[in-house]
Chain length 132, copies 2
DNA sequence: GTGTTTGTTATATCTTTAATATAACAGCAA
DNA sequence: TTGCTGTTATATTAAAGATATAACAAACAC
């Protein structure tokens, strides 16, 4: 669990935590069934408050990335059946690409970046991922 | 100037304003030299405070999308020479694609979305855009 | 049993951000 | 002058983010 928090960022800490865990799942550094540290332990490791970690875990659960077991704590459990996922991605891309387009970044440039990122996320495995 | 603000969104109003104007530039509905409404008028149109619009304009100026003339007000003026643009785009894509990847959205799916969005942004013109 | 750790909930406090409300100023144009 | 522009200043309200304690029930080790 390598978690890097930028305390000078304008991004909320709990949001950075969510992002890093989700990227960890995509990169297959975190797999289905893997347990996350307890809220108290992770908070202590990073040097933040317990409730900040708890909020991140709560959001991750609501968005279908982890399940919480009273005894085992938070466990990676990705729910791939989110119907709005494609629409949400498109809306997010719309803003990013608008900014890029103003900077004369081409369609081909974006495709290259997408490929590079998928390479990062698939480097440890070649087949399916994030399934059941 | 079609501006749509979602007052129930978790996105700040001034941020929604920035995004919409930037997307307007990318879609060529706003072109270099076009004037934006005065902060007072746009605030009145949308039904928000003058300072909220002013903050949006200030951010847009800092990020190189508009220039502000004391007499003419805010004018579209895109500065394409932002060296970090590519790195910033990649960092943003990394998070988006991580989420998408967990939902089993493929590299090809993302490419399709990117193409669709570039179609939207290039529908009114075929050549260069966002230049000097 | 006791003791510890787990997630969870409930307060309370502090800080920052977002948004609003007035107000005033300087520059420019009719 | 009158009216518009951006800009700045100040104040206030509301919400979000983060922290600090504290307590509870469930699970497990002993």
């Amino acid at each position: 669990m390598y978690i890097e928090i930028d305390f000078n960022s304008d991004e909320a800490i709990y949001n950075q935590l969510c992002d890093q865990i989700i990227m960890g799942i995509a990169a297959a550094r975190l797999c289905d069934g893997d347990p996350l540290p307890s809220v108290r332990q992770l908070a202590d490791d990073i040097g933040i408050n317990m409730h900040t970690v708890n909020k991140a875990y709560t959001v991750l659960r609501q968005q279908g990335y982890v399940k919480v077991d009273r005894r085992r704590g938070a466990v990676i459990s990705v729910d791939p059946g989110k119907v709005n996922a494609l629409a949400e991605l498109k809306e997010s891309l719309r803003v990013d690409i608008a900014r890029a387009s103003c900077r004369n970044i081409s369609r081909e440039d974006v495709h290259k970046l997408v490929d590079q990122i998928f390479e990062e996320y698939r480097s440890d495995q070649s087949g399916e991922q994030g399934g059941r």
